[in-house]
Symmetry: D2
Subunit: 337 residues, 4 copies
């Protein structure tokens, strides 16, 4: 960490500051220039509150050299984390696919889709029970009942399941959910993250619409700091000025996250663009860019889906897509599932 000290600073204040920093167990290197004095802080700066330093009278600016995340940091965990969910592996050269409808709508629907995506090669089933919706008047999901139906589909097909939690008060209901998803809008719901750090389930952490890559890693750190290291990161599009797509898929986030973290990274092409015809090209780009998996919306009857149907593809499209994905994985040297 580097502190740029203001010109014409009070010498005594500087001495105080250096003393205070040294007291935190950090080494301080001082570099005096004509116009600027610079302090280099060496040691574990993860615990230093950067905003506190910035607020000091004599400090002009603070620049981090080390990343503020630790447990999610590849620097301290050089090998890929491989997360194995009932035989479906994410990371370390493995690539898995989660597929299923936006919302659970009925027992028949969720079981039909589950069987269809299983036949097409998906390793895990997704389905929304609690649905975050912008409008209070829009369909809010089947909630508890949806969760029950999803568990039934798991029982029938053997597919592990992935579904979103919206509030920690529902946590008990999620005991048998294999992967608990934190949606984009809750990526910085810190009280929820802390609770998820205490459960044994794998957590799928989606990047918020306007959150930086660093903030995504800091939210993973919230979960990991409480003990749960089974975290999968998910890029699902960020908010930009472009209007032809619902969000802008930040595909560069995948190699950047891989450089900085050991956690697996998957992409959600369905929500990123919000357009069914983009699911195939974006999924093939995902395989090409080196991601560790995909989460794709598949519906047996998209035109009648209760929500987000515009971005769902049909099982037969999904089956053809899986074949192509395997082709690309072969080129980039990854193993499917």
């Amino acid at each position: 960490m580097i502190l740029v000290i203001k010109q014409n600073h009070d010498v005594k204040q500087l001495d105080n500051l250096i003393g205070w920093i040294s007291g935190k167990g950090l080494k301080v290197n001082i570099s005096h220039g004509d116009n600027t004095t610079i302090l280099g802080l060496v040691g574990d700066t993860t615990l230093v509150d950067i905003e506190l330093l910035e607020s000091l009278d004599i400090v002009e600016s603070v620049k981090r050299i080390q990343e503020p995340y630790k447990k999610a940091n590849r620097r301290f965990h050089p090998d890929d984390s491989v997360i194995d969910v009932k035989g479906n592996k994410f990371g370390g050269g493995h690539f898995s696919i989660i597929a299923g409808p936006c919302s659970v709508e009925s027992e028949k629907q969720i079981i039909q889709v589950a069987e269809a995506v299983k036949a097409a090669g998906a390793g895990l089933l997704r389905g929304g029970a609690f649905k975050p919706r912008t409008s209070p008047y829009a369909f809010q999901g089947m909630r508890e009942e949806g969760l029950t139906l999803l568990l039934k589909a798991k029982e029938v097909t053997g597919l592990p399941i992935v579904t979103e939690i919206m509030d920690e008060k529902h946590l008990d209901l999620f005991r048998d959910v294999d992967i608990i998803q934190v949606g984009a809008r809750n990526m910085q719901n810190f009280e929820l993250l802390k609770q998820l750090g205490k459960v044994p389930n794998t957590i799928l952490l989606k990047r918020g619409l306007s959150n930086t890559i660093e903030e995504l890693l800091m939210s993973a750190e919230y979960i990991m700091a409480e003990g749960n290291t089974n975290v999968i990161l998910c890029e699902r599009g960020i908010r930009t000025f472009e209007k032809y797509t619902r969000n802008t898929l930040d595909i560069s986030a995948v190699p950047i996250l891989h450089e900085r973290s050991h956690l697996p990274v998957i992409i959600d092409p369905s929500h990123a663009a919000g357009i069914a015809s983009l699911v195939e090209p974006l999924s093939l780009a995902t395989a090409g860019v080196g991601a560790d998996g995909l989460i794709i919306e598949v519906h047996n009857d998209p035109p009648h889906a209760l929500c987000d149907g515009a971005q769902s593809i049909r099982p037969e499209q999904f089956a053809s897509l899986v074949t192509k994905i395997k082709g690309v994985l072969n080129v980039v040297g990854k193993t499917y599932n």
Copy 2:
């Protein structure tokens, strides 16, 4: 609401669609062109799920004419809502100021600041007890204890208090909080919003970093739909590419919100820029633009504040600012307090 129908659509599908819409109590006007057929939906379209329509095979695009919010909409409530918090009025030509430290740090600190801002002319006291922080290793606020101290400051000074809630499980603790603040990161924590719709307290709803003005109004709608209409909106900066300020204050949001909604709108200049020297110019801009109030960070010892100190001003700066604000309010025809 307007539906653009795809070229070469199936006539029977179109008939079905028109039948289904009519069944919802809406009138449908059809306009056939050479290349396009357009349906105009007339009636209360607030309850129509736009994404469901977009997902239909024969629909090319859907365009809303009416806004999707109702209780927050000025169209159905032409007069300003005036929210009166123990004599401090927001809206309808009234302007109030909330001031206080970022975080409650000790009994002495919060009472000192409370007395200082009261003397300088503030009508309400703010102070953070539960603090949302990007890093799990940063100071998380004094939490329950901070709330107790804040209530003490209320008792001593008579100032009504404003503080942030982070989780509905803490709601009981907030009974005597005059204005419960929903922070930017929780603007779309829909489960929390629903609970806040059931309490008698006034709610200060802050715009999320990357949320549109429409989404802010939809979140207000979540609260109002449950019965609580005491909602104050707060613009506090949005996330853009600019890096010299922490966020970009979207000052145009004030007149836009006033045109579309009857709810009062205030600005938080401290968090918008994250720089103490910008608090005064942005506050005077706030008065000029026609907002209904301000929430300002004031600290008796900014260099030692435990968080966000960089954006706090001192009581004497605050006192001088209040005088200037009153001058501008006079020009624009608003009443202070």
Copy 3:
């Protein structure tokens, strides 16, 4: 095009408006609702000035149904345009690669790189002579002299060349340049675009940092409207809040542009991220997403490149990358070159 007319409008004004529109050769369908009157304009609305209509007293809003571009529009030109530059084809199932250094630095350098990229499989040579730089104090390129050296490299290797124009006054110097590049900062330099519409060279039009996909197509339209239809579009990253990459590659722009336009679309992964280690993953994503080509920075000595070296890869990395790209093209059914 749809015009929403204000409530309580003057009936005579509406009659005037309808008469004026009809006079432009457009058919007007009127739909009267309880709260809104809607006009549907049918016919060629490309020439209608949307902002003029928006400015009329009685108009509440205007919504386009048809795209405002015509010559670039796939609706009127359903087949892919295939652009053939000395045997290197872009579009219609063909994929070509342009490679070379950021800047031309010396005769030896440009010829060495040209031979290296040719050997590795590149079909065209890029090299900057006129360099747009944020700082007036930074290296501005070798300018005329750089262009001469680039033409020499073309002569020696037989590779067609691609280089950027910054001002129409230099147009004479570009006669033998096979592809004239319009940089991101000049995407809306309309006077320059008009001149480029009058030359026989192929134009590589790069998307501006904050320009929408629609604006990119409108700028292509400026060139095409003057007669030059040899336009290749290039996505090279847009400006967002994310800071770990220089720009955010908007990979979804490729399938979106393909749906809306017949023009070929390539990607520049070097400038998009500004990081050499991201060139390979983003290039493989480019092949996967269905783009028609790549423009990649390759330098024989990246650590000493005079500009943008941080994002250049070495010839041997490039050669290995080309092999993998061919593998992905095979999966998606595209022909290399």
Copy 4:
């Protein structure tokens, strides 16, 4: 400037680098830590090419401490620059207003508007002759003829004039234009900026839609480095995700620019929002925030303006606005004109 050197770097490479930097006349302070070595460069680093340093093998990252602009920098020119255009002063406590129509349409129109804005208190007349338009099919301005009419209005009313240049080839026509405007789309048309650095006219430099405050200052530096120091900066809205306004007025840019530069800063509220009803509140915010002037669109017949009419206000609205602006200027201690 600070260079963070990679872990496990080659010692000889580091020596070479230090020697090379010292050769540029800069002093190098070295700080060795456990994991990082940091070089502090002291001296005039304006001329150092930051991207070149970033590209070096042994460099992990480079962080600027000093700003890369010099002539525009307040550090080297602590007093406000006051720019006096025929008695209308911008900066140093003075506030002036430029007003007029979006486009020059006819002799009668421009003279009428000029007389109206003069009567209402404007000190300078604006009017577009060369118009940058997204669509090649939209009205492109009256061009040379428009300029002639504008000069006529200047002659008749005595008001100095402001109009936009789109191409350096038109520079001769602008000899008698008092303030030459560089539009947002040309802010980084560096060849044009260089030419404008050689003329005696005042330059009004508008911030690009997606340009940072630092880039705006660097573009001012391009002009000033060639000798022309009469530069007025203009904030006119940036591109963000928000859709209810055309652009997002970045009002914080005013105090930030004032802290970093001595150049005057004005605001264009008409283009920022694109909505006539926002011109008054945003103008009063401009006066409150401490800007040095305004450029406002005024039209005697907005509903029939040939372009951008939606954002124009009428002369009588303008006159009432000027009175209120003077009231706010009085509060913040500025002199009108």
